[in-house]
């Protein structure tokens, strides 16, 4: 009986089989990479805000302390956003009729709050507490990046569970002396390792307890 398949069918068959194998592997590897890419985590993407507030200007150039606006950071779970009043303490004197500040003035006049866009956000089943991190020597910079270089706020870290866990398992590399918590571009001294060792004991940090589920999920 005659051939059913032409002579190059064999080649095609082999190509299809190997091809399927490689495609499969590519998808698997690509997928895992994609999960961590800024495309999905949104790292480094500046978010448009009702008022183009520049940390670069206020922190970098004017050197305003983080806590002037985020005044809950040492005592509360949420760092807090400045009330319109706080903006107006200065801007009732400076740039009093700058166009870009119109929404702020409107807010104060109408009593309707500014609606900023969240940049750093975690799922609502994650209970993050700023005060404890600040108290235990984790700097603003460590999670929020060098905001004093950012004209518009952008997420500095993926804020994925993976990312959180890396530090919760071994916090030491991210510790710094409490007095330097609010510094930007902090340069660790030579003996930083020794300092971190002592911080771990002085601040009574127990990494073995920091990966319990309820530390973040309640």
């Amino acid at each position: 009986m005659p051939q059913i398949f032409s002579s190059n069918a064999n080649g095609i068959a082999r190509f299809v089989l190997w091809g399927a194998l490689f495609v499969g592997m590519f998808v698997a590897l690509g997928g895992t990479a994609l999960l961590r890419s800024s495309f999905l985590t949104g790292v480094g993407e500046a978010v448009a805000q009702p008022v183009p507030f520049s940390h670069k200007h206020h922190v970098g150039q004017l050197g305003i302390d983080c806590r002037y606006c985020h005044n809950g950071v040492e005592t509360s779970s949420s760092a807090g956003l400045p009330a319109t009043e706080v903006c107006m303490t200065c801007h009732s004197q400076l740039f009093t009729n700058a166009a870009m500040l119109a929404p702020v003035r409107a807010s104060l006049a109408s009593g309707r709050p500014l609606q900023w866009k969240r940049v750093n956000t975690v799922p609502d089943f994650v209970f993050f507490n700023h005060s404890i991190h600040v108290a235990k020597g984790v700097a603003c910079e460590t999670c929020h990046g060098e905001v004093d270089d950012l004209p518009l706020m952008a997420r500095a870290e993926p804020l994925s569970m993976e990312w959180c866990l890396v530090c919760h398992r071994d916090p030491e590399p991210n510790l710094r002396p409490p007095q330097n918590i609010f510094l930007m571009h902090w340069k660790p001294p030579e003996d930083i390792d020794r300092i971190r060792k002592s911080l771990t004991s002085v601040l009574d940090i127990h990494p073995e307890t920091m990966t319990d589920c309820y530390v973040c999920h309640r």
Binding site: L40, N71, S76, E85, Y214, R218
Partner: protein, 982 residues
């Protein structure tokens, strides 16, 4: 012995019907309107961002699930949903730090009496009620109803706008009409005018009413309170020559006889009384002593369940018993004689408590006995009744007056006679004759629908007022939040009647106290939640001759009816509160309905089954009610709980049950004889959360008499399988904290406050009657109620069962996704966002304390109603298909740990208090760190009668129990009672 039929309808009804009703269109509309009012705005804005972003009403926890879905669906990469808004204050109140709750002291009114509370407020949103430890009526405890106050506050069914003849109108228009009215009254000195008020203990209100009377001399004031019990004051008036109210000191009482008094479950002093009563029953060492309670009761109550000796009698028999008590030993039946002997033996430390529903004679007899035994001044004091008010009569009098054309315009303050009036009174007809009917209330209830004007009332948590506790201690009521729906306080209403439209509530209250409190003292009173030293002074009493001309009623023949108040709905005012509807009744464990309780013997005689509908007829009126066979119920008596059968309000409409008011007449408010009962063919669905009531001979609630305990302090180990001492698996080290709990079964009175507190603290959903009937209820903590002994006079046993936090947890090893694992401090953590709902953990939990979200019980997004604002922001709201359970209030532990860690110290003993522990009136629950040698819980666990539930399974529970010890006296009884097992 299973007293309840196991009712299971074939099909479930659609989920969260509650919520869909809540999301009812017109509610949204009115919310939109509200949304522009400044205070409402600020309230919302002060919330976490998501709310303000999505007006009218979204609470951030609600959006959780959307985000959860979004993030988890992508194999758990971070929740990079489109940036949600974050909304700061415009002007930040200086004491508010977003993320840090504040606590305010105030008082909640319970039948007009005040109970001091501390309210937790998150960014101006009251979320949790705790008792005020300094307040004599609370002593730090709360009850189920107080816990539910936050839900009532955010109830979407609350009346939102003033209504003129049923049409929405402005408050201004109302004031205009009031101006006219007051002008008329000023002219006619109040001719034809009348106020209908409820029981009140508010000094401000009383003062205002007096002022009003002096302003309009002919104005009349009537009081309508369906739960009123005037007999007590009547008796004291006769006995001591002046109306007085008793204040009991159970902490000083060695022997107590209750004549149908439910002092643990009823009355303004119940929390304090329960605390004092239980404090005398904490036996830890064989040497310890214990009080003894004899209870005579005409229907099973918490007090009867807690009693050492209990006697169920028909209502009409109580009077003769009182007579016997008065006459002395000779006249008394054997068991009463024993009690009397015991009382006499205790001398001034004895106490006879008359049932407040009982007639004057019983009160008189009881107080007479107390006086003879010298108990007055020791175990009981008399004070001027805090609710004393000069009135022209009750609702009956008012209706007569209307009929007699003496009254043509009535202002109803709070009361709802349209529903709660005695059946022989045609209130509708009477009110329809009125020229003007004004109604002020929280809901647009039956009375509001009759009224020409309805004005929304402010909730207690929105109000400025003042109120007295059971011993006269006054608390200043301060608002936690501006009135959500523009409600007004009663004080503002009365002021308006007096023609004062400019005043505000705080001003009115401050006015009352201007003389007694300077600004400093005022601030102090606000901070402490009570006015120091305002407790009423005991009145010295000497016998009058009144008793002689009080005669006992004769014992009536035939079937009798005993009306009781539903423990949660009360006179039905809480009928629209889902938490209370779904909270199992302490004894029947019934939810979403009531039933006519009868004794097994009577049921046998009439061949009735639980659930069977019967017709009860009395005085030409009749109602249909399903029967519930109640162990320990007196024979030939039917107990009818009031408060159900409401059809106004979306939640109330879901509930089953019948309206017992339709059988209650003004001449027989609490008891009625000569009732005819005829069985009907049909049966009704009775929903209950516990279907089986015997312990099947298993050592579940381990118990003994005091005498037996003294012989064998470790009686809990007797004839039970020995607990394994070893495990196949090495022990895990718990070198930091090790949390543990101990529950004292002798102290637990089964009041269900813990369950309600747990629900409030942990955002547990309500599921509605149909889901409950399927066994889908969601309470993390349940209070099991077992009966032991003969059905006609059983011993009633309560056992709170939270998660045991087993160290060798069977639930954890079967979870395929690590959604429930152990923490370093020994908690059996449940990770909701990891759970995929295999339900294997529950299947493998011997205590069955896990709860599963079978359906979407807590809607979110557009579907969700305002009541979500009552949620605790520190606890996730669980989605459909997720298992949940008690974790010792892990959010409170974390909170405490963070605070301790921030100032670098260890967590102190008592710094972490679980919600159930905090609410418990008898302090039956102790909780703490087992590694802390000084921890109170460690002392409890050290007691000889401490045991773990099902310890033979070697699950190593962290929650343990103290065996139940009762003190029936008489060794023979003890032996017999002590060892009989269900």
């Amino acid at each position: 012995m299973s007293a309840t039929a196991e009712t299971k309808p074939a099909a479930a009804q659609s989920p969260a019907s509650l919520a869909r009703r809540a999301a009812d269109k017109d509610i949204w509309r009115s919310l939109e309107e509200l949304a522009d009012s400044g205070e409402f705005r600020r309230f919302i804005e002060s919330e976490f961002p998501a709310i303000a972003a999505r007006l009218p009403m979204q609470v951030n926890r609600r959006t959780l699930l959307k985000l959860a879905g979004a993030s988890l669906a992508m194999a758990g990469l971070t929740a990079c949903s489109e940036a949600e808004s974050i909304v700061p204050y415009v002007r930040q109140p200086e004491n508010i730090v977003p993320g840090r709750p504040l606590h305010y002291a105030t008082a909640l009114s319970s039948e007009g009496y005040g109970i001091g509370v501390i309210v937790e407020s998150h960014e101006g949103r009251p979320t949790k009620i705790e008792g005020n430890p300094d307040h004599p009526s609370s002593r730090g405890a709360t009850d189920a109803i107080m816990q539910a106050a936050v839900l009532a506050l955010f109830d979407p069914d609350r009346s939102r706008v003033p209504l003129k003849n049923g049409e929405p109108a402005g408050y201004g228009d109302f004031l205009a009409d009031m101006a006219k009215l007051s002008a008329d009254w000023a002219a006619s000195s109040g001719q034809g005018g009348a106020l209908l008020v409820e029981t009140t203990t508010s000094p401000t209100m009383k003062a205002q009413l007096e002022d009003l009377r002096s302003l309009y001399r002919k104005l009349r004031v009537y009081r309508h309170d369906p739960l009123a019990v005037p007999a007590g004051t009547a008796a004291t008036a006769k006995l001591f020559g002046r109306a007085l109210a008793p204040v009991y000191h159970f902490d000083r009482a060695d022997v107590i006889l209750s004549l149908d008094a439910d002092f643990l479950g009823e009355g303004p002093g119940r929390l304090a009384y329960a605390r004092n009563f239980a404090d005398r029953r904490r036996v830890r060492r064989p040497g310890d002593t214990m009080n003894r309670l004899y209870a005579v009761e005409t229907t099973p109550t918490l007090t009867g369940a807690a009693a050492d000796r209990r006697k169920a009698v028909r209502p009409s028999e109580v009077e003769s018993l009182a007579a016997a008590l008065q006459a002395g030993l000779a006249a008394a039946p054997q068991w009463l004689a024993a009690a009397i002997e015991d009382l006499v033996g205790a001398g001034r430390n004895s106490l006879v408590v008359p049932g407040e529903r009982q007639g004057p004679f019983v009160h008189a007899a009881a107080h007479g006995f107390n006086q003879r035994s010298g108990a007055i001044g020791t175990t009981v004091d008399f004070i001027a009744p805090p609710d004393a008010l000069r009135v022209d009569g009750d609702l009956v009098a008012l209706c007569d007056a209307i009929a007699g054309k003496e009254v043509d315009s009535v202002v109803v303050l709070g009361a709802n006679p349209g529903f709660t009036a005695p059946a022989d009174l045609d209130v509708r007809a009477a009110f329809s004759r009125l020229k003007l009917l004004v109604h002020w209330g929280l809901y647009r209830d039956e009375t509001a629908q009759l009224a020409h004007w309805h004005v929304p009332a402010a909730h207690d948590l929105e109000s400025w007022s003042d109120v007295s506790g059971h011993d006269g201690t006054v608390s200043i009521v301060q608002p936690l939040i501006r009135p959500l729906y523009g409600g007004r306080t009663a004080h503002e209403m009365i002021a308006a009647l007096a023609g004062r439209f400019d005043v505000d509530a705080p001003g009115l209250v401050r006015e009352t106290w201007a003389k007694r409190l300077d600004d400093g003292a005022w601030r102090e009173a606000l901070r402490d939640g009570l006015v120091a030293g305002s407790a009423a002074a005991p009145v010295a009493v000497e016998t009058g001759t009144g008793l002689t001309d009080l005669k006992p009623e004769p014992v009536s023949q035939g079937l009798e009816v005993r009306f009781v108040i539903d423990p949660w709905l009360r006179d039905s005012r809480h009928a629209n509160c889902a938490w209370l509807q779904e909270l199992p009744r302490p004894l029947t464990k019934q939810v979403w309905g009531n039933a006519a309780l009868i004794s097994p013997a009577t049921a046998g005689r009439l061949q009735l089954e639980t659930g069977q509908v019967v017709n009860l007829a009395h005085g030409g009126r009749s109602i249909d009610a399903p029967v519930w066979i109640m162990p320990g119920h007196p024979d030939e008596t039917v107990t009818l709980p009031l408060g159900f059968g409401r059809r106004t309000g979306s939640v109330a409409a879901l509930a089953g049950g019948f309206d017992a008011y339709r059988l209650r007449t003004s001449d027989a408010m609490w008891f009625a004889g000569g009732v005819t009962l005829t069985a009907r063919a049909d049966t009704a669905r009775l929903v209950t959360t516990q279907h089986h009531h015997a312990m099947e001979g298993r050592a579940i609630v381990r118990r003994a008499s005091l005498d037996h305990f003294r012989e064998r302090p470790d009686f809990v180990r007797d004839d039970v399988p020995p607990a394994p001492t070893e495990s196949l698996y090495p022990d895990w080290p718990y070198d930091q904290e090790a949390w543990g709990m101990s529950i004292d079964l002798s102290a637990c009175i089964g009041c269900m406050a813990c369950v309600s507190a747990c629900q409030a603290e942990n955002n547990s959903p309500t599921v509605g009657p149909d889901e409950c009937a399927l066994g889908h209820e969601m309470h993390w903590l349940r209070v099991d109620r077992y009966y032991a002994g003969p059905p006609d006079d059983p011993e009633t046993l309560f056992q709170p069962v939270p998660c045991m936090q087993c160290e060798k947890a069977p639930c954890e090893i079967v979870c395929p996704v690590n959604a429930t694992v152990h923490t370093h401090d020994g908690l059996n953590a449940q990770v909701y966002n990891r759970c995929i709902g295999t339900r294997y953990c529950s299947q493998n939990c011997p205590y069955k304390v896990r709860r599963f979200n079978f359906l979407e019980y807590q809607p979110y997004g557009e579907e969700a109603g305002p009541e979500q604002a009552a949620h605790n922001p520190d606890v996730s709201v669980r989605s459909r298909g997720v298992m949940e359970k008690c974790t010792y209030c892990v959010q409170r532990i974390s909170e405490a740990r963070i605070h301790a860690q921030v100032d670098n110290r260890a967590i102190a003993d008592g710094e972490v208090v679980t919600a159930c522990q905090q609410a418990c009136p008898t302090r039956a629950i102790s909780f703490g760190n087992l590694n802390d040698k000084r921890a109170a819980v460690l002392r409890e666990k050290g007691a000889p009668h401490s045991y773990a539930l099902l310890e033979e399974l070697n699950t190593r529970p962290r929650t343990t129990y103290l065996g139940r010890i009762r003190n029936p006296g008489n060794a023979a009884v003890a032996a017999e009672k002590g060892r009989t097992d269900g």
